[in-house]
Symmetry: C2
Subunit: 249 residues, 2 copies
């Protein structure tokens, strides 16, 4: 993955403008022409008290050395750093990483999920908050990255991965998109999108939303397994993914 140009860093510009108090926002554009999912980028900067309960609860099971994958403006990483934990935030957006540093995150690097490797050392928790299980992008790439994550993590490591069930909708244009995806051999919730903000637009990329069963299926056959799901009032849930340890027998 080549570095995002400034013009492509739509997500980073939205975050940076929100950091400056200038009301950044994001708009998703999907490859079927759908536009929506308008988000106030201020949520990336939200303080602990403003997070959804499921995100606050997830922080309770975080332990050891932490890698926050797709850390955005660093809201989770900063919270954990303040608790005295050793946390590295990575994000593909140069401006998001700039904002993390401006906000005081000591370990923040511009890096995509596919650039992660054991060169970064060993982690005990991999955080994929805010639907960031979606950063795996596709079934195949998720399997590949989960295998790679094995070599980057301790035996007791956990992946704390948030997603949303794509099937929890009766919106006709979303159902039509699921159907289109299945026809072209993709997962129903595998969204090809770009993020737009003002005149900024990211390159097109894949980001998937999966059901609990799909998450379990993706994880199966790797050396990970879903320990349990944490549920929320909304469409979001968190999969707590643990390592399958070799049988003691």
């Amino acid at each position: 993955m080549t570095r995002l140009t400034d013009k492509q860093d739509a997500y980073g510009h939205a975050i940076y403008d929100s950091y400056l108090g200038k009301g950044g926002y994001e708009i998703d554009e999907r490859d079927d022409g759908f536009v929506g999912g308008v988000r106030d980028a201020g949520t990336y900067l939200a303080a602990y008290d403003e997070w959804p309960p499921i995100e606050r609860e997830a922080m309770e099971i975080v332990k050891g050395r932490i890698l926050d994958i797709g850390c955005g403006a660093g809201r989770h990483a900063l919270y954990l750093q303040e608790k005295g934990l050793d946390v590295l935030g990575i994000d593909v957006s140069p401006l998001a990483i700039k904002v993390c540093k401006l906000r005081g995150l000591t370990q923040a690097r511009e890096m995509s999920i596919t650039q992660l490797s054991r060169k970064l050392g060993t982690f005990d928790t991999l955080l994929m908050m805010g639907n960031n299980f979606g950063l795996f992008g596709s079934f195949k790439r998720a399997k590949w990255l989960l295998r790679r994550f094995c070599g980057m993590t301790s035996d007791q490591a956990r992946i704390i991965a948030q997603s949303s069930d794509p099937y929890a909708t009766d919106e006709p244009c979303h159902l039509a998109y699921h159907e289109l995806n299945r026809k072209r051999g993709r997962m129903s919730g595998q969204i090809r999108l770009r993020v737009r903000y003002k005149t900024y637009a990211t390159p097109w990329f894949d980001y998937f939303l999966v059901s609990r069963n799909e998450m379990a299926e993706i994880v199966s056959g790797t050396r990970w397994r879903v320990g349990h799901f944490a549920e929320s009032d909304g469409p979001y849930y968190i999969g707590v993914i643990e390592k399958k340890l070799p049988s003691a027998r």
Copy 2:
């Protein structure tokens, strides 16, 4: 102008979904790649009490037979109809007109501003609310339509036209767009845009925002003149445009 297809009626679908309580929204996409101006289409259905004060005040000077140009979901037309006035709403959006009728507007027609003619009879007030002075589209087309409007209106007729000063911004991407427009011989605030909602997108069209001076300049040389401007707290203003009557001398 050919009729908008269902797929092109982004604005109508947003209004219709809001009418159904399904949270319609609109997103503007400008021809420089800017996306923004996200609007809750519910505002098209807002009741009198929820309107900005300047819109409520404008209703005080409405008189006689009224043509509401770009009537949307009919919020102004319905208010005036309830006051016992004779009002025709026109809009280019089939679904907007459908919603007007569902809400009880007795005179509502699918029609674009360029299709207006004296065949519709004579009006005493032409309403162009909600930035709809912009429907003139360009300097030249505004002059042409203002002349045509002369033949459709009584001697005492008024055009009540809302716009926003495009220069009241320090946003670099808007200032760059103004500069681009001037370079290509367009008015600074002459926006080439399409409206998007879900997978719906209108054709590209011109919609302009003008300063008070520009509105006066556009009107000059026609048989109309700006009587006065009504000001608001926000960027909006209303030009009350009257007919220049032949001198009594």
